[in-house]
């Protein structure tokens, strides 16, 4: 009888190996662990289940979820995942490798990271990309720390009020412990108030400014002139944009940003109840050596072949310890592969098509919802892509709306409060689903 299917040893081999080590029992290998620290009795864990039983237990749990047709966004978007992606991601040679410490036998990982970096640079219009950010929120927090480190002694960071509140919460947490003073730039009609930004910059001591477009409410921010203003104050401009939107809206490079960050989940990554996603970060050549995380570079090997290696490692924790640019110590391997394959399959045209179809459907839904008279666009004069914010007309509430939609199997959006709701539409939403949404509102 085998010990367990993941554990190859038999009783005999254990005995022989103990003998080779010159000990009588497995216990003797732990003679240095004081008796009072030893585990008493058995773990209070379930008994072992067979694979078929685990699958059954899992399916039973999953049946306790109610799958809903997704009209929610707020940082996570229900775009389609082409089948070729999971097929490639599941290749063991990719999935069961670790950080490419040995470039001679890790060219697979190194190459796809290099491809990913190339594509992200192209999308953001900046010079260099890392491959290490966990998600868009932590990437934004890391960008804030990077700005403060670059500024040497200035420790004020201005954050737009239109930043996704979950991102803002992560930024504030990092700032609290890293002793960075975060101040909020107020909003006006759903977008960042530029006059306020100018005043706050005028007060001096600013290391960086963080703004998101399309912003939390889905609105496109007009950032014309921001880079000049901010650079005049010797601060860095950090722009957060969901990756897929960059194929259509002005990129961080075009706005003159110093650091581009955001979540790459919108590149066809499954919602997966919140993760794993992928954060991206790109910056300028000037700031390359201040950037956190792993970077892959091209070089040649001794045969003259073009090969790839982890490079610029002197920034990192294994060399710099407490003086590193970040504590991050790996690359988000398989998620960067997902992003690279998605962008390869879609190309620039495909990404723009996804945005076009999603935006058209979103605008149709918004206008039909206005026609019901029960809700109206919160910021009707402001442009948006595929996500928009609506205000309920009295006496309707967002609670009522979302409950009624849930009865029809629809996740109707993300409520800001009792009155406002953010709704996102992707290319996956069918006309039937969109009509169902509208009918539900008509029948409220």
């Amino acid at each position: 009888m085998a010990l367990h299917k993941y554990l190859p040893h038999t009783d005999d081999s254990v005995r022989q190996m103990l003998e080779a080590c010159g000990v009588a029992s497995l216990d003797e290998l732990y003679a240095d662990v004081p008796a009072e620290l030893r585990l008493k009795g058995k773990y209070a864990l379930p008994e072992a289940l067979a694979e078929s039983e685990i699958a059954y237990a899992f399916d039973s749990l999953m049946r306790r979820n109610l799958p809903l047709v997704c009209f929610a966004g707020a940082g996570a978007y229900d775009h389609y995942t082409p089948a070729a992606i999971p097929a490639m991601l599941s290749r063991s040679e990719f999935a069961t490798a670790y950080t490419p410490y040995q470039p001679e036998i890790s060219q697979g990982t190194l190459q796809y990271i290099f491809e990913y970096q190339s594509m992200m640079c192209s999308l953001t219009g900046l010079d260099v990309s890392n491959a290490s950010m966990y998600d868009g929120a932590t990437a934004t927090a890391e960008a804030m720390i990077m700005a403060v480190n670059s500024a040497r002694k200035r420790r004020r960071v201005l954050v737009s009020a239109t930043l996704n509140p979950a991102t803002a919460a992560v930024v504030n947490t990092y700032a609290r412990y890293h002793r960075i003073a975060v101040e909020v730039i107020p909003q006006k009609d759903g977008v960042t108030d530029r006059a306020e930004l100018e005043m706050m910059l005028g007060a001096g001591d600013v290391a960086g400014v963080i703004v998101q477009t399309p912003n939390y409410r889905g609105l496109l921010e007009d950032l014309s002139g921001w880079a000049d203003l901010i650079h005049a104050a010797k601060a860095l401009l950090i722009i957060n944009t969901p990756a897929i939107a960059l194929a259509s809206v002005k990129s961080q490079g075009e706005w003159g940003a110093d650091i581009a960050v955001g979540d790459a989940q919108s590149l066809g990554m499954p919602l997966n109840y919140g993760g794993p996603y992928l954060g991206y970060m790109c910056t300028t050549n000037a700031l390359m050596r201040k950037m956190p995380g792993r970077i892959v570079g091209a070089t040649t090997d001794e045969l003259g072949q073009r090969v790839f290696v982890l490079t610029l490692q002197a920034r990192e924790q294994h060399i710099r310890r407490q003086k590193a640019t970040s504590n991050i110590c790996s690359n988000q391997g398989i998620m960067t592969l997902h992003a690279a394959i998605y962008m390869s399959l879609m190309g620039a045209d495909g990404l723009r098509e996804v945005n076009r179809i999603s935006a058209n459907a979103a605008h149709y839904l918004a206008s039909e919802l206005q026609n019901t008279g029960k809700m109206k666009l919160s910021n009707p004069s402001k442009p948006y892509l595929n996500e928009f914010t609506m205000t309920m007309t009295d006496p309707y509430t967002t609670g009522q709306l979302l409950d009624a939609l849930k009865q029809r199997g629809i996740l109707g959006g993300v409520a800001i409060d009792d009155r406002e709701v953010i709704i996102a539409v992707t290319e996956k939403r069918t006309p039937q689903e969109i009509n169902e949404y509208i009918e539900t509102v008509i029948n409220l």
């Binding site: 732990y30 240095d32 899992f58 999971p86 490419p100 979950a166 998620m335 879609m346 058209n360």
Partner: protein
């Protein structure tokens, strides 16, 4: 692994007019957005069809080495087998489609699994409660230090501005402490690799917020004086942090909570078999002893009195938020399935068998490789290069020669305690035959070093890529296709 380099980039396959996508036809009218907010250029992405993409990445994968390819004794990384049922469950479309903003009453199963894993990890760690939210081991360390910071803040104890780490610690420990706003103080190691308790005592005062340790430590030795260390740390008003990088050998043997640790993280991608994914995504759950639960980050999954599960998003005493949502959810599914597969008895076998494998390899090689620290190791051990230093063969040479012989290299030049560190961690999922083959390869390299050192010094000879020019890469960085 393919021994020939597949050197094409996806951009090399690009051809104008090709594409690898199709999209549904929709009848809605086209929207006109203001031109000045739109992108003016076309991003330079490749134009390729689906068969080309699939063949390209399949070929790339053959130039990679994973646990499924061969033995991967990378010290401190616990490269154990990644079970396939875990992957099958995590790929379930029922999870793929769940938006993190779905209301709690529509995700009761998902929350229950989170809660079950949290509870099982608490049992294994001897802790009061775990958050699964941190995205990685380093993120777990940062979160754990923030818990400690929030705890001291709650007592208005602002004088604690420093964190103590051993000089043998992984670089992430001091780096995490710095991100969490702490100054780093190093404590010395004794010749046997354990913490110098006298040096530690001399540094413990009212300015110390925490002491970070791994146990067993980075040289694979158990800190047997851990009860005294814990007592000294607590007497000074500081908290004791357990870096879970080396938890694997403790499964079935001892729990960090019982050793006196207050806060810990676990790398699910090490101890709990979730794949390393070429570097990520992993997960770094953080556990705290009873009494510190309130400081765990938002959002937090709780079980209500009526047996349902809920999400707390705004607990005021929480350290704040370190993630938008509940972390890398599909990684939790894999760790959950792994624990259920082994069960209470199987989990308890993991530690001793991992330790057996490490000791077996150590004993079989110690006549040729320099063992700087005597005594049974735990899950891993460190050689300080070959015993015979006269050949000039270095640890780097040995590592590269192993690649020729079909093995991944151990961790090299870490820990920093020795000049020629070669850190070997075999894990419990390797058979005796695999270990014997590795031992034979290491013995062969020692023999080559003595008889024909050039073959070792010029290795690798039989890998798809050969020794790269790292200096050129750092001197003139080429970090994207356009730079080539």
């Amino acid at each position: 692994m393919n021994r020939k380099l597949y050197d094409k980039l996806i951009f090399d396959h690009s051809c104008p007019g090709r594409g690898g996508y199709d999209l549904p036809h929709r009848i809605y009218p086209d929207v006109k957005l203001p031109e000045d907010l739109l992108r003016t250029d076309t991003p330079a992405l490749p134009e390729v069809d689906e068969p080309t993409v699939v063949r390209h990445y399949t070929n790339q994968s053959t130039n990679n080495f994973g646990v499924d390819t061969g033995f991967y004794p990378l010290g401190s990384c616990t490269m154990k087998y990644n079970p396939k049922i875990n992957e099958a469950l995590a790929a379930n479309p029922a999870i793929a489609g769940l938006h993190p903003h779905q209301p709690a009453d529509t995700v009761q199963g998902a929350l229950q699994l989170y809660y079950m894993l949290q509870t099982m990890l608490s049992e294994i760690g001897g802790m009061g409660e775990f958050t699964l939210n941190p995205f990685a081991g380093a993120h777990g360390e940062l979160t754990g230090l923030m818990v400690i910071h929030a705890y001291h803040d709650s007592r208005d104890d602002a004088a604690r501005t420093k964190v103590i780490v051993p000089d043998s610690a992984h670089g992430t420990n001091p780096a995490s402490a710095a991100v969490a706003g702490y100054e780093v103080v190093e404590v010395k190691s004794l010749p046997d690799g354990t913490v110098d308790l006298d040096d530690l005592r001399s540094k413990l005062d009212g300015t110390i917020a925490a002491v970070m340790l791994t146990n067993p430590n980075t040289v694979g030795m158990f800190e047997r004086r851990i009860p005294e260390i814990a007592e000294a740390v607590h007497a000074a008003g500081a908290l004791l942090y357990y870096d879970g990088a080396n938890l694997n050998p403790m499964l079935g043997v001892a729990r960090p909570g019982d050793m006196g640790f207050d806060v810990m993280h676990i790398n699910l991608h090490k101890t709990f078999s979730t794949p390393h994914g070429g570097g990520g995504p992993g997960a770094g759950p953080v556990g705290v002893r009873k009494g510190l639960e309130e400081f765990l980050p938002n959002p937090r999954v709780v079980k209500t009195d009526d047996g349902r599960y809920d999400i707390i998003t705004d607990s005021p005493s929480a350290l704040g938020r370190i993630s938008s949502w509940l972390g890398n959810y599909t990684v939790f599914i894999k760790a959950w399935a792994y624990i259920l597969s082994l069960g209470a008895n199987g989990v308890a076998k993991v530690g001793p068998l991992a330790t057996l494998n490490a000791n077996y390899v150590m004993h079989a090689l110690r006549d040729l490789y320099l063992l700087p620290i005597e005594g049974p190791c735990k899950h891993e051990f460190v050689f300080d290069g070959l015993i015979d230093k006269s050949t000039g063969v270095t640890t780097l040479n040995i590592a590269k020669r192993l690649l020729d012989l079909g093995f991944h290299a151990p961790t090299i030049y870490f820990p920093l305690l020795f000049h020629e560190s070669l850190m070997i961690e075999p894990t419990e999922t390797e058979s005796r035959e695999t270990l014997d083959a590795f031992i034979a390869a290491m013995r062969r390299i020692a023999q080559e070093a003595a008889e024909n050192p050039e073959i070792v010094k010029t290795a690798p000879h039989d890998t798809p890529a050969r020794r790269p020019d790292d200096t050129e890469a750092a001197l003139h960085p080429k970090v994207k296709f356009a730079d080539l």
